[in-house]
Symmetry: C2
Subunit: 115 residues, 2 copies
DNA sequence: CCGCATCCAATTCGATACTG
DNA sequence: CAGTATCGAATTGGATGCGG
């Protein structure tokens, strides 16, 4: 019932949050879902160059289990499955925004426009 | 000269920042250094239950290489080495704060005090 | 189209012992 | 005290092939 994969072993909230987004493609998935809102599986695959189907599916399932991503299976032929952020997922995305600003500035070397 | 371990392969700022704090103990190290300001090696080891000397030293060296942590070696006998956050490190810590709040609420289940 | 199964490669982390 | 050296375990991710 608790969220995350090592419940009870966190030393701080940041540590706990890191566990949720731990996975090579997870923040990219959040980023991709935050922009448009709803994405199909193949669409996500194209948005994340280099990811394999297996790993993408695995990370989506983990995010779903942690309540970050909603999965809608339309049970059609051919199959159609749509992914979107839950309310908590959107809040996570917002909580990640300052980190993105920091990364742009200090890792990518992009200074913010003007003063 | 660029910071991070996979320069040029980031799709967004958050992704880039994640690379810097990727490592089992790194956010805990940031957290420990953010509280007091200056910590000795053995002090950090005691603050992070379960970390081994080898891994702690390795992650500190990476954080130092990325400009997050400052290492001051006093070249004394017995040895004394002190670690602290750089200015960029402090900014990273601040950028992580919202994530910590989110984690406390949604992973640890701690609601914010009062309304 | 969406995904699972299997096998394999790479990386990371932990345990232990040792050194200036 | 503050590390390094070596080894092995565990986890993660990639490649490929098959299935509803």
């Amino acid at each position: 019932m608790p969220v995350g994969r090592r419940p009870g072993s966190y030393v701080c909230g940041t540590d706990a949050a890191m566990d949720i987004i731990d996975g090579k493609w997870k923040v990219s998935i959040l980023w991709a879902l935050g922009e448009e809102g709803v994405r199909r599986f193949g669409e996500l695959r194209r948005l994340l160059p280099g990811v394999t189907e297996k790993v993408l599916a695995a990370q989506l399932r983990e995010l779903e289990a942690d309540g970050i991503v909603h999965r809608e299976d339309y049970a059609e032929v051919p199959p159609r499955v749509e992914y979107s952020l839950t309310e908590i997922g959107h809040q996570l995305n917002e909580a990640l925004a300052p980190l993105g600003v920091w990364g742009k500035r200090h890792v990518l070397g992009v200074e913010p426009a003007v003063r």
